[in-house]
Symmetry: C2
Subunit: 106 residues, 2 copies
DNA sequence: TTCGACTATCGTCGATTTACGATTTGACGC
DNA sequence: GCGTCAAATCGTAAATCGACGATAGTCGAA
């Protein structure tokens, strides 16, 4: 998969309000979280499960079986590519802040 | 529009390889660029125009009429929201860099 | 004015996405 | 074994997206 496609895939994973909300929930939750997600987003269980599957396929989150439920957590590394790209768009020449990486990705 | 929807809209604007490619082209082009985009992405003119419209609607790029052609340029400010969100996902607790804005935009 | 180059818009088609209820799977306690 | 709860999967219908050709509009040059 080309870099463009990889970026598009990552962006597509974030391209839905329900998934943004899920990521916010994971971000705000220290440990694990399972079926509470369903109640929080206000969609049907099957729909939420589908969104979780999309996020998991994109590598943005990880699902770990923890007894009777599943423990979801963020996978920050997967977003490095997108974060770097967006940052490069934001500051094409003037790095107003955090310049550590010029444009490292390979 | 809620913050979640705004983020999803921004992400959706990036959720296509052709649009990623267009943004790369704009990033790599110092000044203006017009119909050269069509040749570079290898799609029909109408299709490219549609992608440009989507990017423009999302506020990611700006189109300025410059005589017979249109001058497209990146609009870094529009990406601040997305960049901030992705960065917060990348470093949920350890802000290795630039923490200035907790969640400023309204 | 007429021509040619460039861009935007319209209409349409097929593919993909989204959402839901219903069903199935898996893990636990009885 | 059996029932229960949580999660995933299946099947389906509505909505959206992506691509294209054809068309219309705009500008500068001849």
């Amino acid at each position: 998969m080309s870099a463009d496609e990889a970026l598009a895939t990552l962006a597509k994973a974030l391209a839905h309000p329900a998934r943004i909300r899920i990521l916010r929930l994971l971000l705000a939750t220290p440990g694990c979280i399972g079926g509470d997600i369903v109640g929080a987003v206000g969609l049907a269980q099957s729909t939420v499960s589908e969104h979780l599957r999309i996020l998991k396929t994109a590598g943005v989150i990880t699902g770990e079986i923890d007894g009777p439920r599943v423990c979801y957590a963020l996978n920050p590394e997967a977003l490095s590519l997108l974060a770097d790209f967006v940052a490069s768009l934001k500051s094409p020449e003037t790095d107003a802040c955090c310049i550590p990486k010029p444009k490292a990705p390979s």
